[in-house]
Amino acid sequence: MASALFHRPAAELSALLDSGAISSVELMQAVIDRVKAVDPSVRAFNSSDPDSALAQARASDERRAAGRRLGPLDGLPIGLKDVIAVEGQPLTASSKMLANFISPYDSTVASRLKAAGAICWGRLNLDEFAMGSSTENSAFGPTRNPWDLSRVPGGSSGGSAAAVAAGEAVAALGSDTGGSIRQPAALCGVVGLKPTYGLVSRYGLAAFASSLDQIGPLTRTVEDAALVLGAIAGHDPRDSTSVRSEVPDYAGLVRRRGGPWRLGIPKEYFGQGLDPEVAAAVENAIAHYRSQGCEIREVSLPHTRYGIGVYYIIAAAECSSNLARYDGVRYGHRSREATDAVDLYFRSRAEGFGAEVKRRVILGTYVLSSGYYDAFYLRAQKVRTLIRRDFLEAYREVDALVTPTSPIPAFRLGEKSADPLAMYLCDIYTIGVNLAGLPGISLPCGFTASGLPIGLQLIGQPFKEAELLSIARSYEQAHDWHTRVPSL
């Protein structure tokens, strides 16, 4: 069982800190030592600053001693995907383009974590600019799956998922554009929540695809996800797409017993390409819900099959524009060979971006070009509306949907690198949630025979994260998958 301090859930550690059984410095030191011990093989971190983290831990201990605890996250080390800005810390997006960039400002989520007393702990690896499903597209080398170091942790928030699974951070923030929180959470056996679009501010998240990106937590338990979400959610005047809504007490609500719920099983999510072991684990989970009195109903999301196509048009279009700012003029990689302004763009971008980023920028530039816009971008937007309508239609009958998170468990490094389309299919069950702007969560629901984690995806209704978390927790409490830890 998870007795080591660095493997325990945030809620439990918070209680230990409150009781005085441990100090934040003690916890921080244990995590620092853990990173020293395992990260040379896991490589979840692009960088970290143990001295600053310990100083923050000391400050947290002083607050608690003075009775001025800032909240349940006070003194807990939370890792951030290296695409979320923290003032004074590197912000590389795992790209050569930003290899030496230090952010001069805090993202809204970072400033909210700080306000809650959490320690912003390290910069976690990802697929360059969050484009990928394996973290192999990092300019600084891949992260490995803590459960099997020859396998990928998923992506793009692979560093965040691996760090939480390996005990290198109590919790982490990732970003999810097409499954980038949920898929690595599934592959690393942790909980990953993608909130409703607009619930969490994107200010300070280096944008990949603005209309799809959303920041969310990766944690060891559903309750932890509720705790972290409670700290980062809520309207932000700096993000025009952030929604004005009351932030409920997610952690309080999730501890209450809910249900039974009406759960939908979208038939399109159980087709070809689904690994039999994953299918079996998800079926077991569905059976569990049924045994708890939930009404299980098959539903149809007929436009699911257009999801990947629509996603790669919209995400690529937005990314081609969002990444235009990386030009070597004001910051970031600047080619030493450049002879004039245009040459500076060509060379800096050719040298600074990796293959997958270039592929998507070129694709996005193409679909927005004069004469192609209507056929590609505009049509994709229309289909996107239909996909969202499918979900909302289903929610007339059910409270949430139950699906696999990833069609397959963690694959080997290099296995899909040569075939971008095979890699894109990793997101087949997660993409619809982003296109429809819905909340989705992945939680552990079993292991393959070879010991690889399997993830269960629950998809909720807009801004009903509290209910989604309750549904997830009712499963989690009846199982012990989440208490298992990889042997490293």
């Binding site: 960039f101 994107r202 700096r238 993000d239 797409t241 081609s320 004001r330 816009y373 971008y377």
Partner: protein, 487 residues
């Protein structure tokens, strides 16, 4: 064959707001390089735009003042192109749904002479949209430096229909447009500060032809005289080409106001594909009827409307109104004073001559001048002049004294202090006149013989006796009365 020119203008006007279009950084001119920046203005990773509502209000106001149709939804698009002065390498702009459509600008063509009003015409507008300004490049010998202080300033683009026919008309259009913008408080339109910039689309065609010729876009007409000269130059260039049997190439040309020459920047084939698409960082904003009404209630009277009213209500001549109406503050000052006066024309004259001269000195601001000589004081002064208390020859000096006095002094007080009160009504005047008549029997005889001009022979001695402080009119009246008595 006779040819005519067809001109459409694209005018960029910086909107006067406290902060930038999509960030909280202040807008200012002349600050040290790159100090008016933040993560949003510099396009740092993760920065997001948030719309400045005041800029939106200003453009709606401009649209209402110019009679445009206001879009029900304000939608934002990205215009993608790479240039070092563009921090994000896309500009947030409005593509297929401009905030304003249609409308027109009333212009005044040059009259037969400076003092005579010219013909008025309405030049239709295509659209007005809102966008963000870019930074500024400073080119050195071996390097170019970018200053992002200007980047992100709210910028309105006003596009006219191709309805102008000459450089003079284009000039009149800009003058009238600027007057409306300044009057509405929408922009100061200071061309030296780049607050108003103009590009022109120019083509020529056989006179009377319904078809448009191939257009050339002329860029960087960045002073009002460059607009006139640049367009005239381009029309001449095109006429020379077509009249020698050549063909106009669709292109963008850069006009150099210093040399008076233009050169090709790019041809149609080299035009950018801006890859416009809706900006996913900004939500569309609904502009409802209540919003429009709120702005409509803030729209001031247009300059030409005011001019027509000044003609009819106050009987002012063109020469005075044309000076007054281009300046809203001055017009309002005039009107406040005129309402307190029995002689608005005299007030108009005083404002245009005395007030404006003082303002032109540039030592004191309008507000300060107004504080020292409020409209009521102006009306009082004009009344004193009419009563003859103040010599017309002394008005300039007295006005200057009033403007210089701080703390301000009353008109009567100033008249006394300056010793300018005319002795025209006192016994002195009568005494001086009697003495003058007695001292010049020849003139008296001539006058009696019917030579009216002989009266002037008495005036010199009276004025000398009064040390120049007698009102000629009063002197004339007094002399005639006494001469009549002397029968």
């Amino acid at each position: 064959m006779n040819y005519e020119a067809v001109i459409g203008l694209e005018v960029h006007v910086q909107v006067k707001t406290r902060s930038k279009m999509f960030s909280r950084v202040p807008v200012a001119f002349g600050a040290p390089e790159n100090t008016l920046t933040d993560p949003v203005v510099l396009g740092l990773p993760g920065a997001l735009p948030v719309m400045n509502l005041a800029a939106l209000d200003a453009v709606i106001k401009a649209g209402l003042m110019l009679g445009c149709e206001i879009a029900p939804v304000c939608k934002w698009d990205r215009k993608n192109y790479f240039y070092p002065d563009s921090p994000k390498n896309y500009q947030i702009s409005q593509y297929d749904q401009p905030l304003c459509r249609g409308g027109s600008v009333e212009i005044e063509l040059p009259g037969p002479s400076r003092n005579v009003m010219g013909e008025h015409r309405r030049v239709p507008l295509t659209r007005i949209h809102l966008e963000e300004d870019v930074g500024k490049l400073n080119h050195g010998a071996n390097e170019s430096l970018v200053d992002f202080n200007r980047a992100g300033t709210p910028l309105m683009e006003i596009v006219s229909e191709p309805a102008l026919r000459s450089a003079e008309e284009a000039f009149a259009f800009l003058t009238a447009l600027r007057a409306v913008m300044v009057c509405g408080g929408i922009s100061d339109c200071d061309m030296e500060k780049g607050q108003l910039r103009c590009d022109a689309n120019i083509s020529v065609r056989p006179e009377g032809s319904p078809r448009l010729g191939t257009k050339v876009e002329l860029k960087n007409l960045n002073s009002i005289s460059f607009v006139r000269d640049g367009i005239a130059h381009e029309i001449r260039r095109q006429l020379a080409v077509v009249q020698s049997g050549g063909v106009i190439v669709q292109e963008t040309r850069d006009y150099d106001g210093q040399t008076g020459a233009s050169q090709s920047l790019r041809t149609k084939e080299q035009e950018h594909d801006y890859r416009y698409f809706p900006d996913p960082d900004l939500m569309p904003v609904a502009v409802d009827a209540a919003w429009k009404e709120r702005i409509r209630s803030q729209c001031p009277e247009l300059p030409f409307e005011r001019q027509r009213r000044f003609f009819s209500e106050y009987g002012l001549p063109y020469t005075i109104t044309s000076v007054l109406v281009v300046d809203r503050e001055l017009s309002e000052y005039f009107e406040e004073a005129a309402r307190l006066s029995a002689d608005p024309l005299a007030v108009g004259n005083w404002v245009v001559n005395q007030f404006l001269r003082e303002l032109g000195e540039g030592k004191l601001s309008f507000a300060e001048l107004r504080r020292r000589v409020p409209p009521a004081a102006a009306a009082e002064l004009v009344a004193e002049i009419a009563k003859g208390t103040v010599l017309t020859t002394a008005v300039a000096g007295l006005s200057a004294a009033l403007f210089q006095a701080d703390p301000p002094v009353g008109v009567r007080q100033a008249i006394e202090k300056a010793g300018l009160a005319q002795r025209s009504s006192g016994e002195d005047l009568e005494r001086w006149c009697r003495e003058a008549i007695a001292g010049n029997p020849k003139a008296l005889a001539d006058f009696k013989a019917g030579r009216d001009s002989a009266i002037n022979g008495f005036k010199g001695p009276v004025m000398r006796a009064a040390k120049g402080k007698a009102d000629p009119k009063a002197v004339d009246e007094m002399l005639r009365r006494l001469l009549k008595e002397a029968g």
